[in-house]
């Protein structure tokens, strides 16, 4: 459902992601573990484009969120002038494609006329597959380490804001009145607050809540958009130990309801218990992955063994 293809991310000279590809299936709970600075959070943030990948593509539900990465499309490479020159020079098509990919040859300058077919194909691919990021993000809830509840809004307003704003934007298609949109958002917000037992906090501001309460509200705020996938960026790392449980319980509940989840976490117990698949990242790459049993009980790579010996 959500896939990233050959993602690279550079911050200046710092290479944080070095070509990661991953496919998240519907209903799957994927935990991402690894030492700090390994690129876990950056990879998660690339999934909903809070970080723009330097190279590579992000696809959600068969729709493209990033610009086309020409190296990922053989037909684009084949339309390029470089490829044609290579083939005209007697090179096998397959070898030419491989060479272009490996040596990063598409950057070679060509005249406008020469690049016409190439450019047209890129544009066509983009047009056919592209979806506006603001639309795509409605299907991807995100929960942050620092909660990031809106400080200037009450709890209820926090939850209602996005459904109301977006409901108003698509009012022409749905034909709903403002009152109907607000009423629907409000009843949904109260239902969600009831679910986490915080309906009494509906009209207070976030600054009066505990960390655990804030994070649970941040989770239901994302749920108010009825997302297809939820991204969790170290949701319990900023919490006091006694509050971690209540947040993890809510996440487990979500997982049991069949929500697709990607969770960057340091909670190995949670990863082992809830995740369908565990990815181990180190140095900007996915080093090892598998079921929790495989990753935790039978690690293959020395780096994972080393990491587990420190955290378990």
């Amino acid at each position: 459902m959500l896939s990233i293809k050959n993602i690279y991310k550079n911050f200046g000279d710092l290479k944080v992601l070095k070509g990661v590809s991953e496919e998240i299936e519907q209903g799957e709970v994927v935990a991402i573990i690894g030492p700090s600075g390994s690129g876990k959070s950056t990879m998660l943030r690339c999934m909903n484009l809070l970080e723009t990948p330097t190279f590579g593509e992000v696809w959600m539900d068969g729709k493209l969120l990033t610009p086309i990465d020409p190296y990922l499309h053989e037909e684009v490479i084949k339309a390029s002038n470089t490829f044609k020159k290579m083939v005209a020079g007697g090179m096998e098509e397959e070898t030419a494609v491989k060479e272009i990919k490996e040596k990063d040859l598409l950057k070679e300058k060509f005249s406008a006329a020469e690049g016409k077919e190439y450019g047209a194909l890129m544009k066509k691919l983009y047009k056919e597959n592209y979806i506006d990021i603001n639309f795509a993000r409605r299907d991807m809830g995100m929960v942050f380490q620092q909660f990031n509840l809106f400080n200037n809004k009450t709890i209820k307003e926090n939850i209602m804001l996005a459904p109301v704003k977006i409901g108003m934007q698509s009012r022409k298609q749905t034909g709903l009145t403002k009152q109907e949109i607000v009423a629907a958002a409000e009843s949904k917000a109260m239902e969600l607050l009831k679910r986490i037992g915080l309906e009494s906090k509906a009209d207070v501001y976030p600054s009066t809540l505990s960390g655990g309460q804030k994070q649970r509200i941040a989770i239901v705020r994302a749920l108010a958009m009825n997302p297809k996938v939820m991204l969790f960026d170290e949701p319990t790392s900023a919490l006091d130990p006694e509050m971690i449980g209540e947040v993890l319980d809510l996440m487990k509940e979500l997982a049991n309801d069949g929500m697709t989840m990607v969770v960057v976490t340091h909670e190995m117990g949670f990863a082992r218990e809830v995740a369908d698949r565990v990815l181990f990242m180190d140095d900007g790459m996915i080093v090892e992955q598998g079921s929790p049993a495989e990753v935790f009980d039978n690690p293959q790579s020395p780096r994972l063994k080393d990491f587990l010996s420190k955290v378990l």
Binding site: L50, N134, G141, N148, F150, N152, L161, A162, K165, M225
Partner: protein, 230 residues
Amino acid sequence: MDLGIMAKNIVDIIAKYWKVFLVEGVSNTLVLSFIAVFFGTVIGALFALGKMSPVKPLQWIITAVVEATRGTPMLLQLYLYVFLLPSMIPSLNDIKNADWICVAVALVLNSAAYTSEIIRSGIEAVDKGQTEASRSLGLGKVTTMTSIVLPQAIKNILPALGNEFITVVKETSLASTFFIGDLMTSYLKVKGINYLTMECLIITGAIYFILNFILSKILVVFERRMKARA
């Protein structure tokens, strides 16, 4: 100097010329300050947004204007606009209040330069996580700015903006160079009639002080109300 005589003079001047000070002077000063702060804030906000936009040439132009304004004296800018604007817009010469308008323009742009920096730092002081949370819910840049970032930025900005308002009220006194009827012009007028410099200065100073005192109290109430909301 006899304080008794001075006090009597002050009372006499107030009794005779209160209209010049309060009706003409104070109203002009307040209107000028209000125009300068209101439009200064609006234009300053646009400057701030422009400076934060990704369009480089826009950033350069705004930075140049802001730095030039902050780096030169207010009085010099007043002279500049009073001489420059009528030569650029000849029809200004036909208007009776041309100087007043030029002074207002100078004050607005001066205020805009300062408030743009205040607003920019206020916006940048809002935690980036607020923007990220809003964008991650699928809200666009504009909605995020107007619903989340600006309301929080205003809370950061308000104290500094209040100071700017008070500064502007005092800076309008420079406009008396062009005799445009502000409070300081009232002082020049009345002093010109009775030559009681000290007494007139004390009266004018007291009025400025009271204006700014009331203003700062109003701002404190505003700030408190903003704080109570979160």
